[in-house]
Homo-oligomer: 713 residues x 2
Amino acid sequence: MSSVAPKHPLDGFFNARSVAVIGASADPDKLGGRPIRFFREAGYAGQIYPVNSRSAEIQGYKAYASVTDIPGPVDQAMIILPAPACMAALQDCAKKGIKFVQVLSSGFGEMGADGLRAQNELVAFARQHGIRLLGPNCLGLVSVRDRFYATFSTALEALAPSPGGIAVATQSGAFGSCAYAMAIQRGLGLSRIVATGNEADVDVAECIDFLADDPQTHVICAAIEGCNNGERLRTALLKAAARGKPVVIMKVGTTEIGIQAAATHTGSLAGNDAVFDTVFAECGAWRASSIEEMLDVAEYCMVAPAPANQRALIATVSGGLGILMADAAERVQLELPPIAPAVASQLREILPFAPIGNPYDTTAQLSAVPGGLGKVVEVLLRETDCTTLLVYIAQLACAVQKFEPSRAELVRLRTAYPDRAIVLVGPSDAGLRQRMADDGLMMFTDATRAMVAAGAVAAMHARRRAIADDAAAGKASAASVGAAPSTPAAAASRAPRAIRHEADAKAALQDYGIAVLQERVCSSAQQAVAAAREVGLPVAAKILSPDIPHKTEIGGVILNLKDEAAVATAFDTLIERAKAAAPQARIEGVLIAPMAGEGVETILGVHMDPVFGPMIMFGLGGVAVELYKDVAFASAPLSPQRAQALVQRVRASKLLQGWRGQAAYDVPALIDALVKLSAFAVDHADTLAGVDINPFLVRRQGGVCLDALVSFK
Amino acid sequence: MSSVAPKHPLDGFFNARSVAVIGASADPDKLGGRPIRFFREAGYAGQIYPVNSRSAEIQGYKAYASVTDIPGPVDQAMIILPAPACMAALQDCAKKGIKFVQVLSSGFGEMGADGLRAQNELVAFARQHGIRLLGPNCLGLVSVRDRFYATFSTALEALAPSPGGIAVATQSGAFGSCAYAMAIQRGLGLSRIVATGNEADVDVAECIDFLADDPQTHVICAAIEGCNNGERLRTALLKAAARGKPVVIMKVGTTEIGIQAAATHTGSLAGNDAVFDTVFAECGAWRASSIEEMLDVAEYCMVAPAPANQRALIATVSGGLGILMADAAERVQLELPPIAPAVASQLREILPFAPIGNPYDTTAQLSAVPGGLGKVVEVLLRETDCTTLLVYIAQLACAVQKFEPSRAELVRLRTAYPDRAIVLVGPSDAGLRQRMADDGLMMFTDATRAMVAAGAVAAMHARRRAIADDAAAGKASAASVGAAPSTPAAAASRAPRAIRHEADAKAALQDYGIAVLQERVCSSAQQAVAAAREVGLPVAAKILSPDIPHKTEIGGVILNLKDEAAVATAFDTLIERAKAAAPQARIEGVLIAPMAGEGVETILGVHMDPVFGPMIMFGLGGVAVELYKDVAFASAPLSPQRAQALVQRVRASKLLQGWRGQAAYDVPALIDALVKLSAFAVDHADTLAGVDINPFLVRRQGGVCLDALVSFK
C-alpha cells in the first residue's frame, strides 16, 4: 500500500514537466509564438517542444515536424492550429501517448452546428484514448510558481504574475484576463489561472475540484457563464468547503434556460439566478457581484483568519464613517453586539471622552493618546469574542513614519490573537498595504468595501459550519432526509402518468404524508350534493380536467357553497364553463371539498432545474410572490433544519409568527410538508417537470394542501 | 448700478487675502503651528499674521499679541485656543473688524450642555457684530488654487492637493479628511475643502450654496450627518442644479428624529433616511452609498459631458462582462435600447462574426481588426442617440504602446461628438487613466463601478430636467400647485383643534375636495338605524372618540351590517368595547357609513418632517407597506406631475393598472387626492403633526377616503 495520494485527474494540466506546442511559430508575437516566448522569458524549467513541420528550430528550441518525433515523454500538448487541422494533431498526441491536451484554437462549438460537430468528434476521440481535453476555444492556463505559461493571452505581456495562494478559474478568457490583470495590479499573488473556453471536456467545476486539492491554492476565484453538470459543480464546491478553501464565484450570463418552458408557476419564479444563488450558498461559496468584490474577498481570505462567528466590532475616529460601516454591516449580516460595561470601563481608561458603543467612536482622541490605537485594539480583542474587528483610522497611515509604532503594535496583537481578523480602513499607500497584508493585517481604503468583504468572509464560514452541522445531523437521522428514494413503496404505488389532475396530484402527495382535505370526485350534480353532505357544508367545487391545469383562469372554482341547491347548480355551472372555455378538454368531473377555514396561504413548489435537479420553493401567497418575488429556494432533499432555514429566508414568513399579537401559525407542520414534498421530488426526479402546492394553508394547528398541480415531462 | 455680482456671504472664508492665526505656535507640528507651516510651505500669497502673546516672531512671521495689534486689514481669523479663551479672541476679532472667523477649538456643543451654552454665546456675539462663524470644533477649510490651507488637518501633511474642479464640503472632519485623501490618491483635482464641525453658524448647506456660485467648482461632494435647516439645504441643492453643478451627497448618521414620537403610521414609515432620499432626488442630487462611489461619480462628472438621456450602449470584448454590466444598468435605471437593423449591418461590416445586441459582444475580433475599436465606437456614436457609451476593452490598454492609435482615435471621436460620454472599462495604469481623463475619456477598472457611475450621472441629469419641467409646468398653472395656502377660506373655516376624530378629519379633507362616503354621526342605536336606512344597507359602524385614534385595535369597527337589528346591536357593542378598552375615553358617538365596495386599498399620508416640513406618502395597503416598506415620499406641495411620479415609484402601483387582464383603477382620481392632500398639508404646516388616510379606496371610477386620522401638535 502506498501512502502517496493519487494524482488528481487534471494534475497533468497544471503540473506538467514537458509541453509540446503544436503550431509553434518563430514569430514571438503570433498566437503560436507567444507561449514559447512566455515559457522562455519566464524561465519554465520543464522541456519545451515546438512542433512545426517547416522549421528545425523555433525561438532557440529544437522543433519537430510532429509530436510523434519528439524523443522523450511529453506530459502536455497545446494545439494552436486552424480548426480543421486539430483532429490530426490530436491523433498524433494519442500516438505519442500524451494524456493532457489543450485545444486553444477557435472555430468549434462557438461557431454553430458544424463547429459543434467537429468539437464533439475531438471529445469522442479524446475519451476513447484516455486523453483529457481543455478547450477548444480556450485561453489556456498558467501555473505561476512553475512559470508554466501555457497560454497566448496578451494579458501576460503587460503584467507578470507573482506566485501566491489565489487561483482564478473562468470559462471566458476575456473575463479571466480582466480578473487576472486587476489582481496583478493590486499586488495579489496567484497560484493557477485557467480559462476553460468551450468546456467540451474539462469545465470550471472540475478545475475547482482540482484547486480544492491543490496545495498551492488557498482561495479559489471562479467565474462561470453556464453550467452543464450541476452535480459536478456542487461536489467541487462542497469539497473546497470541506478543505476550508473559500470559493468566491461569479455567475454571469443569465441564459434563463427553462423559463419559457416552465410548466409550473414555481418554475417561472426560479429563473436561473435564484437557483445559482441557492446552490452557491448551500455549498459554502460566496457569490460576488463585481470583479472588484471578488478580489476584495479573495485577498481578505488570504490575509485574515477564518472567522468563527459573524460578530464584529467597529472602532472609528469618525462617527459618521462608523454609521456608514454599521449600515453596510446590516446588509452583509454581520452582527454588531453592544460593548459590555466591564469593557466600556477599560476603554474609558484609555479614551475618557469617547462615547462607548458599537461602532465605538474613538473621536480624534485616538491619535492624541500615545499608543491609543494599539491599546483600544488590545482591549477589544482581549475582552470580546467578536472575530472581526474593523478600525477606521482616517488618514493616520498616510504619515508612514508616525504610523510605524502603531503598525508594529498591531502586528504584535495579530500574532497574539491569531484567530481574529484585524481590518484597518483608511487611505494608505500600496507599499504599506502590502507590508500590512504580509503581516496578516487587512487594509481597505473604502469603508463600505471593507465591511462587505468582512461580511462575505464571515458568511462563507458560517455557511461551511451549516454544511458540517447538517451533515452531522443527517448522519444521526439518515432515514428522515436521504437523497435516495425515501418511500419506494409509495413511489411505486402511483405511476407518474396516473396523475391527471388536482385529485390525483393530491392523492400522490398524500401518499407522502402531506395533509389534504377530505374531498370527493363527483361526476354528477347528485353525487356532488351527496359529497357535500358527507364532507360538510359549506363546500368548494372545482372542475377536474387534465387539460385545464389553471382552473381559476376559466372560472373553474366556486367557493363557499352554503346549501345543497347551490352545490347542484355549481356542478352544472362548472361543467358548462369548462366546455365553453376548452371544448376539447377531457372533463373528469367536479371536486367537492370542505371550506378550509382560517390560515396563512403559502406556496410550496418543486422546480426541476435542468442543471441542479429538484429545487424546493417556498413563499407566501398573493402580492408577496407576484410583486415582490419574495420566495426562496433550496435543493432537495431537505432536512427539517434546512426546511426551517428555507422558511426563514422568506421575508413574509414573519406573518406566520402571528401578526400584531395574534397567535402563531403551525410552522413545524409547514416544515414537515416541505420535507415531504422534497422527498416526493427526489423520488420522481427522473420524470417530474414541477409541482405547485398553491395554496398550502398553514393553520394555527396543522397545515393542509388546498390545491396541487403535479406535472411530468 | 454696478454690474459686479455681490459677493456670496461666505466669500470671505474661501477667498481671504489675509489671515490671522490666533493661538499660533512656533512648533510647526502643534495644532496652532500647523496652519502657519501649511501656508508657508504651500506658498499662500496673502498676509499671514500669527497671534501669540508670548512671541514676537513665529515660524519666520512677525507675531502679534492680539489681532487688534495687526496694522493692516485682516479678512479672516482662525481661533486655535482652549475653549474658555475663545470668546475673548472673538471679541478682539470684532474690535479689529474681522468678519470671518473660524473656531477650530473643540470643547463646545459636542461636549454637552456647558459646551453648548458657550457655543451659543459665541454665535450670539458673532451675529451681533456681523461676524460669520465656521465651527467650533471644525477642521477648517482649504482653497487649493490660492494655497489657502486654513486647517490643522494632518491629511495635508501626507498628501498635497492639486487644483481642480471638485469641492468637498463635509460636517465631520474625519469624513472630510478621508474623502480628501482618497481623492488625492486617485489624482483628482480639488477646488475647495471645508469641514463645518458643530455648525453653530455656517453649515454644509450654506457651503453648497457658496460652491454653486463658485467659478472654481464644477462638482460638489458633500457629506452631512444631520440637517438643522431643511429649507436652506433644499435651496442650495436646487441652486446647484440650476447652475448645472452636480452634487454628490452622502448622509450618514440616522438620528431617526421623530420616529419615536411619530403620531401617525406615515410618520413611523418615514424614518429619516427615506425623507433625505426623497429630498436629495427632488433637488437633483445623487446620494452616494460609499465614499468611493462619491468620488467615482464626481470624477465622471468632471470628465464626461452631461448626458441628455438615460440611454446607454455597451460594447464588450467579453460576453460575460457585458451581461454583468447590463445587470448593473438595470439597477441604476440606465436603458439599453436594441441596435437598429441599419446600425447592425454597419457593425457587421467591421466585425462580421460578432453577435449584434446591446450589450454588443464584439468578441476578441475587436482587437484583431485594425482600428476596430475606433470604428465600432464611431458607428455607435454616429448612428444612435444614446448619450452614454461604455466599452469593455479587457486588458487592451495595459499594452500602452499598442493601444496608442486606438486612444488617439477615441480622443478624436470624443471631440467630434462632444455631447456623448465615452467610458472605457478595463485595467490600465494610473498615468494612462489620467491622460485619458484629461482628454475627456473616462476609464474604469471595474465594470460594475463604471455602470453605477454612468447611471448616477444620467439619473442626476434626468432629475434636473424634471425639476426644470416641473418649474415650467408650475408657472403655467400656478394656481393648481402653489406653495402658499391654496384655499385660505377652507383653511380658515375649520380650526385645527376642531378636528377631534374620524368624522371631523374627513370633513376637513372633504373641504379640500377629497371624496368621502356619505356618513352619519350617531349618538344612539335609534339614530344609527335611521342613518343606516338613509345611507343604505349594508353599512359599517365605527366608534368615534378623540382618545381612540386606532379604532381597529380595540374592535372599534364592525363591517357589513346587513339589517337594522344588526346595526342597533353594533352600536351598543361598540360603545361597550370602547368603555371597556379605554374607560377614560371621551366617546362622541358611532359613525354609520355605507360599505365601500370594490377597489384597491391605498394609504395616503402626511409626514411632518422636523427638517423638511410636510412630506406626502403613498403606498398600497396590507403587506406591501407593513412588510416590504413599499412606500414613497414626496415634498408638499405636489403638482399632478409630481403626484403621478410619486405613485409610479411604488412597486405595488402595478396593481392599480389592473392585475392579470382586469380593468384599470382610476389613477387620475388618486393623483387628484394626493395633490389635494398636499395642499391641506401645506396650509396647516404650522400646526399639523401628521395625516393618515388609510385606506383611500381607489375604485374603477373615482376614489374615496374610508378612514382618516388627522393629528395636530
